[in-house]
Amino acid sequence: MEIHELTLTEVQDLLDRGELSGTDLVEGLYTRIDAVEDKVQAFLELDRERALAEAKEAGKAQIAREADPGPRAGVPVAVKDNVCTMGWKTTCASRILFNFRPPYDATVVARLRQQGHTVLGKTNMDEFAMGSSTEHSAFHPTRNPWDLTRVPGGSSGGSAAAVAAGEALFALGSDTGGSIRLPAAFCGVVGLKPTYGRVSRYGLVAYASSLDQIGPITRTVADCALALGWIAGHDPLDSTSLAAEVPDYRTFLRPEVRGLRIGLPKEYFGEGLDPEVRGAVEKAVQQLEEGGAAVLEVSLPHTEYALAAYYLIAPAEASSNLARYDGVRYGFRGEGSDIVELYSDTRRRGFGDEVKRRIMLGTYALSAGYYDAYYLNALRVRTLIRRDFEAAFQKVDVLACPTSPTVAFRLGERTDDPMQMYLSDIYTVPVNLAGLPALSVPCGLNHEGLPIGLQLIGPPLSEGRLLQVGYAYEERRGPFPRPQL
C-alpha cells in the first residue's frame, strides 16, 4: 500500500512497530506531492531536503532515547502558512510577508517537534486567513482535488486540499469563522475547530485574536483525535489558553450514541440551504438516530445577526493586528520619501484587496463616533449568540447541522461578490463568536460527486464528545471515497 493511502492512525501503528520511519513518510508523501501538486497547488513552500533533514534529526533524537518504549513519532505535518515555523517561511499568503522567516516556532509546532514530528511543508491559504476559497492567496489559488475547477474552501484551503489529495496525513489549519471546517467540508476531510483556548495561539499570526483557533485537518475522525492530542493543552505563552487537562481523545472513539441528545438548530436549515446538502445532513442525523440518539429541534434565535457581528468584530481586531506590517522591520518594504509615504506604499502594494477591505471595515467600526453603534453592538450580539448556545446545550448534548449551505463553488464564482463569499460561513461563524468546539465530518457526495460536510457543535471543551459522535457516525457511514487525481 502506498503511504498516501494510509490514515494517520495506521501510520502511527507502523511507526510504533518500527516498520516505518519519518524519512520513509517524507519520501512517500513527496512522491505523492510530485505526482499531484501541479494540479492541486496546495502548498506555498515545499522543500524535500529540509523535510528529510528534519525527519532524520527527529529520528536520531528518538534513537537516542531508545530505552523509552513510548509511542514512536515522526509524522511530517503540513502546516498552514500563518503558523510560525523555524526554518520555513511564514507568509500568510501575503506579499507583505513574502520573505518572512520567523526566528521561532509556534507553540503547536514546538510541541509537535518535541514529540518527534516534523514539518512537511507550508500550505496555501487566503491572505491572512481572510476568505472562504483560498482564492485570496497573493501567490496562487489552490484547487479542489474533487474537481479542479472548484475552490477547496478557505481559508485553510491548502491544508484541506493537501489531506484530501493524499499529499499529507495531517495538516494544521486555523479557524476564525469557519476556516478549518469549510475547506474540510468542501474537500471531503475531517476538520476540527477546538474550543477557544484549547490549542495555543502563540505563533499563529493573528487575524482576529478573540476568534482564531488552530486545529487539525485529517482524513478520519480517529486521525483527528490522535492529532488533537498532540497539539492541545495549556501554554503559558498564551494568556487565553485554557488550563484544563487534556484527555486521551482516542478513548472517546467508541461507536456509541445511545441516549445522546442531538439538537437540530432550525435556523441552520432555512433559506439558502442547498437541498442536496440538507438531504445529506438529515440522512446523517437519521443514521445517528438509528444508533439510539434522540433528535430534537432547537432554536438559536440570534443566528441571523451572527454574520453581521462577525464582520465587525473580526475586521476590527484585524485592523489592529495587521497594523504592524509597515515595512519598517521585516517583510515587504515599499518606497517613499518620508515615513508616511513608506507606510502607505508598503501597505498599498503589500496587502491584497480583501485584506484592505477588512482593515478599512475594522478601522471604521472602531473609529470615534462609530464605535458604540458598530463594535459595541457587535459585542452585544456576540453575548446573545453565546447565550443561545448555552440555552440549547441545556436541552441537547450536541448540535448537528450543515457545515456550509452549499458544496464547493467554482473558482472565480464569488470573488467579485464579497457578500456571496461571506455567506459560505453562515453556519460556522456563530461557533467562533461563542468560542465553542465544532467538527466537520464528510457526510456524502452530491450529484456532481462533490463532498458535503456535517457539522457537530458542542459546549466548551466537549471535543471528546464531538469526536465520539463523529466516530460513531463514520462507523455507520462507512469508508468515504477518495478524489480521483
Binding site: 500563518n82 503558523v83 510560525c84 511564514t90 500568510c92 510577508l97 518572512f100 520567523p102 526566528p103 521561532y104 509556534a106 495561539r201 502563540y202 505563533g203 499563529l204 499570526v205 493573528a206 482576529a208 485574536s209 478573540s210 503559558p236 505563552l237 498564551d238 494568556s239 487565553t240 476590527a316 481586531e317 485592523s319 489592529s320 497594523a323 504592524r324 509597515d326 519598517v328 522591520r329 521585516y330 518620508d338 515615513i339 508616511v340 507606510y343 478601522t363 472602531l366 473609529s367 470615534a368 464605535y371 463594535y375
Partner: protein, 489 residues
C-alpha cells in the same frame, strides 16, 4: 516672557505623568529591563511584536502598578482590563500600545503637597498600567525631515504607569512641587527609581487660564517635551503668561499641543497634522481581564513601605528634628535611610542631620553624584562624629576627614591616624604651649587686658599654628582665659 498672572487671573493645571516601573523583566515578556545596553539586544519576538507573538502579563508589574495607586491613595479596581491604543509610529512595533482605557487599575486618589507654605490636596484621576515604546534616534530634528531614523527596541515593553491628575494645580510652582513629591512617593514605594534624565519619569501638562472667580474653565493647551522638574515650571510659567497675554489682547486660546523648547524658553504649537489622533481603543483580546481580590489588594497595601509624608512626620517626632530638616532628609529614600541608619547609632540626631544636610549634600551636589554612587556608609559618618564628640578631632578637621571618607570610604579613625590629625587634648602639654604663645605675643596679651577681646583670637591662632591645628579649640580657649586671668599684673 514675564509671568503676568496678577491677581486677576487663575491658572488651572492638570498633569499626565509616565513612570517606568522597576521590574527586572518587561511587562509582557521576559526580556531584561534596565537603562542602556547595546541597541536591540534586550528584545524577543514579543516585545518586537513579531507576527504570531502574544503578550503575557508580568505579575510584578501589576503589583507595582497597584502599589503606585495605593501610595497615591487610590481606589483599586477589582476588575480591570487592557485595551489597545492604535497608532502608527516606527518605535511602536505592533502599531498599538497595550494600555488601559475605560477600566484603569486605580482611580480617585490624591497626593498632598506643600507649596509656598500652603498645604494642598491634588486629586489623582487615575493610574493605569501600559507598555513603554522603543526609542527613535532621528538624524535630523524629527522623523519627517530626517534622512534616516535609528530604532532601538530595548526600551519597548518596559512597564509604565500613567498617572493623571485632576485639574487641581493652581500654579507652575505647584506643578513642580507636585512632581517632586510624586517622584519621592514612587521612589519610597519601591516601584520606580524615577530618573527624569534617563526618561523613566516624563510629564505632560494641560494648562488653561481664566479670570479669577470665573466658574467655566478656559480653553486648555497641552504642553509636551518638558525634560526636568525645572523645565515643567518654566514651560508652564511661559505658557500661562502667553495665554493671559493672548486673552488680554482680545485674542482666544487655541486648543492644541505645544512643544516646550527648553533652549529658547518658549512653547510652540505643533503642526495640526500631528494632532487630533483617533486611537481607536478597544479591549486587548490577547490578555484576560485582571481580577484582584480584596485580600490581594490588602496584602499589597500592608507591604507598602513608609511613604515620604509619614516619614517626614516620624523623623521630626522620633529624632526631635525641625520640620525643615525632616523635609530635606526625605528628599530621597536613600538619603532618609542613610540618615536614619546613622542617627540610630549616634546619640545626637541633630548633629547627624546637620552633617547629612550640610557636608554630605554639599559634596554630592558639587560632584553631581547620587548617594549610592559614593563609597561612604552611614557607619563611617557615625565613626567620624564619635571622634568629634570625644574630642579626638575638631569640627574643622572633621570636615577634611569627611571629604576623604566621601571619596574613599575609609573609616574616619584610620584617616585621622594616617594623617596625624588627632587633636591635642592633653592639658599639661597645651598649658605649656599657651604660656609660650603669650610670651611670644606680648602685644596681644596687652590689648586683651585693655579690654580688646578680639585679641584673644590672635593668641588662639598662635597656639593653633604651633600645634598645626590639632589643639582642642575649646580647651585652648579655656586655658588661655585662665592664663590671662592668673597672670594679671
Amino acid at each position: 516672557m514675564e509671568v503676568e498672572n496678577g491677581p486677576g487671573w487663575e491658572i488651572v493645571i492638570g498633569l499626565e505623568i509616565h513612570v517606568e516601573l522597576l521590574t527586572r523583566s518587561k511587562v509582557f515578556c521576559s526580556c531584561a529591563t534596565g537603562f542602556g545596553g547595546e541597541p536591540n539586544t534586550r528584545v524577543c519576538p514579543v516585545c518586537l511584536g513579531l507576527p504570531g507573538s502574544l503578550p503575557v502579563l508580568n505579575a510584578k508589574a501589576l503589583e507595582y502598578a497597584v502599589k503606585t495607586g495605593l501610595a497615591l491613595n487610590c481606589e483599586i479596581a477589582s476588575f480591570s482590563k487592557f485595551d489597545r491604543k492604535n497608532y502608527f509610529y516606527p518605535d511602536l512595533p505592533k502599531a498599538y500600545q497595550i494600555s488601559q482605557y475605560d477600566l484603569p487599575l486605580c482611580r480617585h486618589g490624591y497626593l498632598e503637597i506643600e507649596a509656598g507654605g500652603v498645604r494642598r490636596r491634588i486629586g489623582i484621576t487615575r493610574v493605569h498600567l501600559e507598555e513603554e515604546t522603543g526609542k527613535s534616534l532621528h538624524a535630523g530634528t524629527s522623523i519627517v525631515d530626517s534622512p534616516f531614523t535609528l530604532l532601538d527596541y530595548n526600551r519597548a515593553g518596559i512597564p509604565l504607569v500613567e498617572i493623571v491628575t485632576e485639574p487641581d494645580i493652581r500654579s507652575p510652582e505647584e506643578a513642580r512641587v507636585f512632581l517632586e513629591e510624586l517622584k519621592r512617593v514612587v521612589e519610597f514605594a519601591g516601584v520606580s527609581d524615577v530618573k527624569m534624565e534617563e526618561g523613566s519619569l516624563r510629564c505632560d501638562a494641560n494648562i488653561s487660564v481664566r479670570p479669577r472667580g470665573a466658574s467655566r474653565l478656559g480653553t486648555k493647551t497641552e504642553v509636551k517635551n518638558m525634560n526636568s522638574f525645572r523645565a515643567v515650571q518654566r514651560a508652564l510659567e511661559y505658557e500661562a503668561a502667553r495665554q493671559i497675554a493672548t486673552l488680554r489682547a482680545g485674542g482666544r486660546v487655541v486648543q492644541e499641543t505645544r512643544h516646550w523648547d527648553d533652549a529658547a524658553g518658549v512653547t510652540r504649537g505643533m503642526r495640526s497634522k500631528e494632532q487630533a489622533q483617533d486611537y481607536r481603543y478597544f479591549p486587548e483580546p490577547d490578555l484576560v481581564p485582571i481580577v484582584l481580590s480584596p485580600e490581594q489588594i490588602e496584602q499589597w497595601r500592608r507591604e507598602l513601605p513608609e511613604l515620604p509624608a509619614a516619614r517626614r512626620e516620624r523623623l521630626a517626632r522620633e529624632y526631635g528634628l525641625p520640620a525643615y530638616d525632616a523635609a530635606i532628609l526625605t528628599a530621597s529614600k536613600k538619603l532618609a535611610d542613610f540618615f536614619e541608619e546613622a542617627a540610630r547609632a549616634f546619640p545626637d540626631p541633630k548633629m547627624v542631620s546637620n552633617w547629612v544636610m550640610g557636608e554630605l549634600l554639599r559634596l554630592l551636589k558639587a560632584e553631581n553624584k547620587e548617594l549610592d554612587q559614593v563609597p561612604l556608609q552611614p557607619s563611617d559618618l557615625v565613626g567620624l562624629l564619635s571622634l568629634v564628640r570625644d574630642g579626638v578631632i575638631s569640627g574643622a578637621t572633621a570636615k577634611e576627614v569627611f571629604e576623604e571618607m566621601f571619596h574613599t570610604g575609609d573609616p574616619a579613625a584610620s584617616i585621622v591616624d594616617r594623617r596625624g590629625l588627632r587633636q591635642i587634648s592633653d592639658e599639661g602639654a597645651l598649658r605649656e604651649i599657651v604660656r609660650r604663645a603669650m610670651a611670644a605675643n606680648p602685644d596681644a596679651v596687652q590689648s586683651y587686658r585693655q579690654g580688646k577681646e578680639k585679641a584673644l583670637g590672635a593668641l588662639v591662632g598662635a597656639v593653633m599654628k604651633e600645634t598645626r591645628g590639632k589643639a582642642n579649640p575649646q580647651l585652648v580657649n579655656r586655658l588661655l582665659l585662665e592664663a590671662l586671668r592668673e597672670a594679671k599684673p
